[in-house]
């Protein structure tokens, strides 16, 4: 958090960044830089390329939203950053505050987990241990990183429970996870993740299992805590409503690859990839006039063992034939900058895309 940290991290991350992929002018605030991250799993059926060359940056105090369908590699990416893949082949670079976590000693990464980076999981019931009280689990997380006595740790845990809005925190400290409701459990999870003031918080579908009213409470809480602690947040979700509400920057993933990246405004208002158009057209909008029909993406997501040649989206893309020479089916498109800090991996020219978006897609949404 200190100025010193910032100064240390700045030159490092700038040095490792690909000149084409880094958002210019933001290097100094960058807290996490992921470069060409690949996470592959060897299975009996073949090599599963869950994440296949993803690069992005997360800035301090800002939120990056990662969207995509199930199997697009969003959760695998986040677990990869946390260093939680034991059997996977991980390559590329993950620079957290000036340290490359991919090549670092696993013991060292373990010490960073919890203190420097923490995670909120989707399903708090399976992420919390049913055998221990909520309080015991939070104190444990605290004492791993802080050499304090039980009493002090308990005081800290109660403070955190109170902070995340659990009523009667001192009493609930000795409750078991099953005695909590879904929303309360998620709050307890958040308390556990934040007990060490992590500088990077990864929230993997934090509200998917919750009802809308509770979801609103939790999103509000995450936003408030982020403001308070100035943490960098990665928000992984399939819900475009949630990312629009939370994220400053967006990363759209498809088939283990990044297809579009940019500020939330750019991606929502001037999306430059047919898959992003598909996502926007697929969802009924509560804030718009009623539409007669949704515009679905045809087909289904690709198998990560047999990712289509060329652009992974080409079998489902209505515009796959726009670029000449069958390019979409043979050559994998590079992530190219289409505007300041806005990248898209598509073979169509920017003029073509802009024309299709403004003339064909946007009017129907």
């Amino acid at each position: 958090m200190s100025d010193l940290d910032k100064k240390q991290s700045a030159p490092e991350s700038a040095a490792v960044s690909e000149p084409t992929a880094l958002v210019p002018g933001t290097a100094e605030e960058t807290f996490l830089s992921v470069r060409d991250l690949k996470i592959h799993f060897d299975t009996d059926d073949g090599l599963v390329k869950s994440v296949d060359g993803v690069s992005f940056d997360v800035r301090r105090g800002k939120t990056l939203g990662i969207v995509g369908e199930s199997g697009s590699g969003k959760s695998v990416t986040s677990l990869g950053i946390m260093g939680l893949h034991q059997k996977a082949k991980v390559s590329g670079e993950v620079w957290l505050d000036g340290e490359n976590l991919v090549t670092a000693d696993p013991d060292h990464v373990r010490r960073l987990r919890g203190r420097k980076m923490a995670m909120i999981f989707q399903d708090p019931l399976s992420a919390l241990h049913p055998y221990y009280t909520v309080g015991a689990q939070i104190t444990e997380a605290y004492r791993v990183h802080h050499p304090v006595g039980k009493k002090e740790a308990k005081a800290r845990a109660v403070e955190m429970l109170d902070r995340v809005g659990i009523p009667e925190p001192a009493k609930r400290f000795s409750s078991y996870p099953h005695e909590f409701s879904g929303g309360m459990r998620q709050r307890a999870m958040i308390a556990m993740s934040l007990v060490n003031n992590p500088e990077l918080l990864i929230a993997d579908e934090p509200t998917t299992a919750l009802d809308v009213t509770v979801q609103a409470q939790i999103l509000d809480l995450i936003r408030d805590l982020q403001k308070e602690f100035g943490s960098a947040v990665i928000m992984i979700t399939h819900d475009l409503g949630v990312v629009a509400e939370m994220a400053d920057d967006l990363l759209v993933m498809y088939g283990g690859r990044c297809v579009e990246r940019g500020s939330a405004e750019k991606v929502f208002y001037e999306p430059q990839h047919p898959y992003t158009w598909g996502l926007l057209g697929s969802m009924p909008r509560i804030d718009r006039e009623e539409t007669d029909r949704l515009i679905p993406v045809k087909g289904s997501p690709p198998s990560l063992i047999n990712v289509p040649d060329g652009c992974a989206f080409n079998p489902r893309c209505p515009y796959a034939d726009v670029p000449k020479d069958n390019l979409t089916r043979t050559v994998r498109p590079e992530l190219r900058e289409v505007g300041s800090g806005h990248f898209s991996a598509c073979h169509m020219s920017q003029e073509e895309r802009t024309r299709i978006w403004t003339e064909e897609i946007a009017p129907k949404l």
Partner: protein
């Protein structure tokens, strides 16, 4: 929905009040309590009041959407009207016939007309049967010999829901989630039912697939003249598919209205809170907290629901009367039913006055004060309105200060 809305809305509006056309399904004060048994003798110590007095109608050709948070009893309701569960009380009428307590054998002929689409396409298909067997099961069970043979009909059904008819001999595991949901839909439609109850038909699917299935349900409704009851928790999806929408809270309907009415002027505070909680996919509205109503806490337990209005523990408008007297589901606008003592957006003054008047009378009863019967209604309404207004604004204030506190 394009065709459907165009076609059905006019005659719906025509028969809305008084409803001259016979409703397909009529539910009257439906109740389902699940007993809680304890101890050696398995004595009943309580009951989960999953559904606690529902009354509504489903008209032919329409889509009734049912929304609510988890645990509000919407799925139980779906299973009650398809008679997969035995109601504890109340009445279910299908096409004028009382089906509330029909046994399995008597229910069987009706199963042709009432079908269900389940939420989880992974657990609702037998993994050891081919999809041909799965989709032809209804014919076998009902002893129906379709024209042109079972196989041909099943293949037509598969084509109808957008699957390759040649996949007749494949097993469920060879299909993706969206395709499986299509198989479930094909099975539900095999016998050309009149009513299809879909319990969270798209919530297990990815967004892009969700849109495919929603469109499919639309097309099938147009093509086959189906009537749907669609249960879902996603308010955006419900708005897209429904003609009328029922909002449930803790086993009761709190509001029932046409889609447009419900979304443009919700009258029940719970509906308003639900709608305001839906994240809007528009970054320009990021952090626009002021127009969001943050409900405190969680849904109370249906084992011992709160007294009076069940929403009063989380409602910012709750007053004395809400804790003691249960608000009845009243018609406050054309086809707009609300169960609230202090409804929002009451457009013309008359119905609001009557409500406030009944509220005032009830409050007086509770307080043990006699309301003179000859007292001018208008005056009573005025005073009660005046009494209700400050209370409401006070409630709003407290909730606001809570929010501030959270920040």
């Amino acid at each position: 929905m394009s065709e459907t809305t165009d076609v059905t809305t006019p005659d719906q509006t025509a028969n809305k009040p008084g409803s001259s056309a016979e409703p397909l399904l009529r539910v009257d004060n439906l109740v389902k309590h699940f007993p809680i048994k304890k101890g050696l003798l398995q004595r009943q110590v309580g009951a989960v009041k999953a559904v606690d007095g529902l009354s509504f109608e489903v008209r032919p050709g329409e889509t009734l959407g049912v929304v609510g948070e988890s645990g509000c009893g919407k799925s139980t309701m779906g299973r009650l009207i398809t008679r997969l569960l035995e109601p504890t009380g109340g009445k279910v009428e299908f096409e004028g016939h009382d089906i509330t307590h029909l046994n399995v054998g008597k229910m069987r002929p009706l199963r042709r007309d009432v079908q269900m689409i389940f939420q989880d396409p992974y657990s609702s298909l037998n993994p050891r049967h081919t999809i041909g067997t799965i989709v032809s099961a209804p014919f076998r069970l009902q002893g129906v010999q379709p024209e042109g043979g079972v196989k041909k009909t099943v293949q037509e059904l598969l084509a109808l829901v957008g699957l390759n008819p040649e996949h007749y001999n494949r097993y469920p595991h060879e299909f993706s989630g969206g395709q499986r949901q299509r198989i479930g839909i094909a099975r539900a439609l095999a016998l050309k039912p009149k009513l299809v109850v879909a319990d969270e038909p798209v919530s297990a699917l990815d967004v892009s697939i969700q849109a495919q299935v929603v469109n499919l349900l639309d097309d099938l409704q147009d093509e086959l003249g189906l009537t749907y009851v669609i249960i879902a928790h996603d308010l955006s999806v419900i708005r897209h598919v429904s003609d009328r929408i029922a909002v449930m809270y803790l086993g009761k309907i709190v509001e029932l209205a046409d889609r447009k009415d419900l979304y443009t002027k919700p009258m029940h505070p719970y509906t308003k809170a639900l709608l305001s909680a839906v994240p809007v996919p528009d970054p320009a509205r990021r952090g626009a907290k002021n127009d969001r109503i943050l409900l405190r806490g969680d849904v109370p337990s249906p084992i011992s629901p709160p007294s009076g209005c069940r929403f009063h523990t989380r409602c910012w408008k709750a007053t004395e009367i809400c804790t003691t007297k249960e608000p009845p589901l009243l018609q406050l606008g054309t086809g707009h039913q609300v169960a609230c003592h202090h409804p929002e957006n009451a457009d013309d003054q008359a119905p609001q006055d009557t409500v406030l008047l009944t509220a005032a009378v009830a409050a007086a009863e509770v307080a043990g004060v006699e309301v003179p019967a000859d007292k001018e209604p208008a005056a009573a309404a005025d005073s009660s309105a005046a009494a209700a207004a400050p209370a409401a604004s006070e409630g709003a204030k407290t909730s606001k200060s809570d929010e501030d506190g959270a920040e």
